[in-house]
Amino acid sequence: MKQTLQVLLQLRAEGVLARFAVGGAIAASFYIEAVATEDLDIFAFLRPSPGGLVVLTPLYERLKELGATLQDEHVLIHGWPVQILPAYSPLVEEAVHEAREQTFEDLAVPVVTADYLCAIALQTGRPKDYLRVYSLIQAGCVNTAKLRQLIQIHELQERWNDYARRYA
C-alpha cells in the first residue's frame, strides 16, 4: 500500500492529479475497524487540458510510465487495484477539499473525513454503505452537527430516513 500511495503523491507533485483524497473502505479503516475490500478508492481533481476539458489520457499515460497496468475499471499500482474517480458531485468535490492529511508510515496522505465518508455513503446508498454510516457513527468519530448540515445541503434527507428506518 505504501508504494501505491507514493505513486499517487508523486502524481500530485507532478501536477497530473491536481488534488486527491483516499475514500472508501481504506479511508474508513482509518476511523473504524478494517473491512474487506478489493480496491483503493481515490477521489480526484484532474488537471484540465488547455481547452479546459478534463481528460484522463495524461493520467493513464503517466501511470503506465510508472509501471501501472489497466485492469477493467481499475489501475493496478504496485499490486493494488486503484479506482480513480474524478470528483463526480458537489459533495465529493467538497470532501476532497476538506480531506485531512493522515500519516501512513512516513507519508502524509489526504483522507476523506468521517463526516464526508458518511455523507458519501448515504449518497451511494447500498446496504454496505449504510453499514459504514452505522459503524462510523457507532465509533463516535462523526461530528453529528456537520453530518446534519451535509445531509441538508446535499439533499440526502430521504437517504438518511431510509438509513434510519433500517438501523435506528
Binding site: 473504524i32 475497524e33 478494517a34 474487506a36
Partner: protein, 64 residues
C-alpha cells in the same frame, strides 16, 4: 464464568454478543491505520486465493 447449559438462552446470547463486539471494538481501536490496512491486504490475499481455488475446481470439474 460458568457457562450456562443452554448457550442459546436469549439473555446469555445477547450479553455474549455484546461482550464480543465490545472486545473487538476495543481491539480495533488499538490498531494503527497501517495495521488495519495490513489486515485488509491479508483479507484480500485470502479472497484472491479462494477465488483461484474455485476457478481451478471449476476447470477440473469441466474437464472430467
Amino acid at each position: 464464568m460458568t457457562m450456562p447449559v443452554d448457550t442459546l438462552d436469549p439473555v446469555f446470547f445477547e450479553q455474549h454478543v455484546a461482550r464480543v463486539k465490545a472486545a473487538w471494538r476495543k481491539h480495533a481501536q488499538s490498531l494503527t491505520w497501517e495495521e488495519k490496512v495490513a489486515a485488509i491486504e491479508r483479507m484480500r490475499e485470502r479472497g484472491l486465493s479462494l477465488k483461484r481455488a474455485r476457478e481451478e475446481n471449476t476447470r477440473k470439474a469441466e474437464k472430467s
